[in-house]
């Protein structure tokens, strides 16, 4: 195994304890007789020691309070959401054209209903007029003067 390959393993599997037994043995034998690779291994160990000494920092106290507050306020917002949406819907300012459209529809519906009601009353009106006409025509049958146009032409044809 070349120094290059050994150094690759030193920087990963060997340093991290991932190398198998055979690789470990081979590398150890190589390090015993190769000064540059040995130096690299020492450097890597020194570097790793700094990481191993890293202190674990305590989590600041206030973080959970902030999270809890965030969760509670979001839940309150969600619970009041339905009522709030209804209030918003009812009292939200409407655009002019929406109001104008609604007003037009109301007028249209009112006029339509009025016309329908009027049409229902038309047969009654016709009934009254019809009876007047019937009386008029009955009266006319017995009254010849009703059909006289003031000329003698009728007599000619008759």
């Amino acid at each position: 195994m070349s120094c290059r390959k050994i150094q690759e393993l030193l920087k990963s599997d060997y340093l991290d304890g991932q190398a198998n037994q055979r690789e470990k043995q081979f590398i150890k034998e190589h390090l015993a007789r190769c000064a540059p690779c040995r130096r690299l291994e020492e450097d890597l160990q020194a570097q790793q020691a700094i990481f191993k000494k890293a202190k674990r920092m305590p989590v600041p106290e206030g973080i959970w309070q902030n999270i809890r507050q965030g969760i509670v306020s979001e839940e309150l917002k969600q619970n009041s959401g339905i009522l709030q949406r209804l209030v918003d819907y009812l009292f939200a300012p409407r655009p002019v054209f929406v109001l104008a459209s609604a007003f037009t529809i109301v007028i249209f519906v009112t006029v339509f209903i009025t016309l329908v009601l009027q049409n229902r009353q038309i047969p009654g009106i016709f009934n009254g007029t019809g009876s007047d006409m019937a009386i008029y025509s009955l009266g006319g049958e017995n009254d010849d003067s009703l059909y006289s146009l003031g000329t003698n032409i009728e007599e000619y044809f008759l």
Partner: protein, 187 residues
């Protein structure tokens, strides 16, 4: 990270806040510390932690695969932290551009130059500052959180060989930075 009982997850998923608090107690240490290492900023880490748990709370009821809860939490944490880190970087860059124009900051101040530090914690921060978010995340999960290659691959949704190559590359970058004297006393 502590194990979470299945019934606690179920209750938390139903919106029970006390159960969710137990989930928080068991996992917030991991979330905060990973966020802190990736963002390198305690204010950002706090925001990331809050964001992660709000996301978890909202999505838990729809999350059916309770067995992979931890992996899911790891992924949400890492993604939220990386996004936060990038956002802060952009904002800092904008501010830096403005400050440079107005001559407030001295020229030539790079992250690497500012990385020459003494004690362990500041040295660690300096090392992490050199790396991009992807390499940094891999290294944090492996070296600080002790994840296996498989766990890193599952968390980041990347192939195992990509985990291996990112770790190699990250370590190589840090060694080169140390040899150039950008990070003091590392090697």
């Amino acid at each position: 990270m502590n194990d979470i009982a299945a019934d606690i997850l179920e209750r938390a998923a139903c919106g029970e806040i006390e159960a969710f608090q137990q989930v928080y107690k068991a996992t917030s240490g991991f979330v905060y510390n990973v966020a802190l290492r990736i963002t390198q900023n305690s204010a950002d880490a706090e925001e990331v932690t809050q964001d992660v748990f709000m996301k978890i709370y909202h999505s838990l009821k729809d999350f059916r695969q309770r067995s992979t809860f931890k992996t899911w939490l790891y992924r949400v944490t890492v993604n939220t932290a990386i996004n936060r880190y990038r956002k802060t970087k952009r904002e800092q860059k904008d501010m830096l551009d403005y400050d440079s124009l107005s001559g407030v900051l001295p020229g030539g101040s790079s992250a690497a130059e500012g990385a020459i530090q003494s004690d362990d914690e500041t040295r660690l921060r300096a090392l992490l500052n050199i790396l991009n978010p992807e390499f940094k995340t891999c290294l944090v999960l492996r070296e600080i959180e002790g994840f296996s290659y498989q766990e890193i691959a599952a968390t980041l949704k990347i192939p195992l060989n990509t985990v291996r190559s990112r770790l190699k590359r990250a370590r190589q970058i840090l060694l080169e930075a140390a040899r150039k004297g950008l990070v003091k006393d590392v090697v």
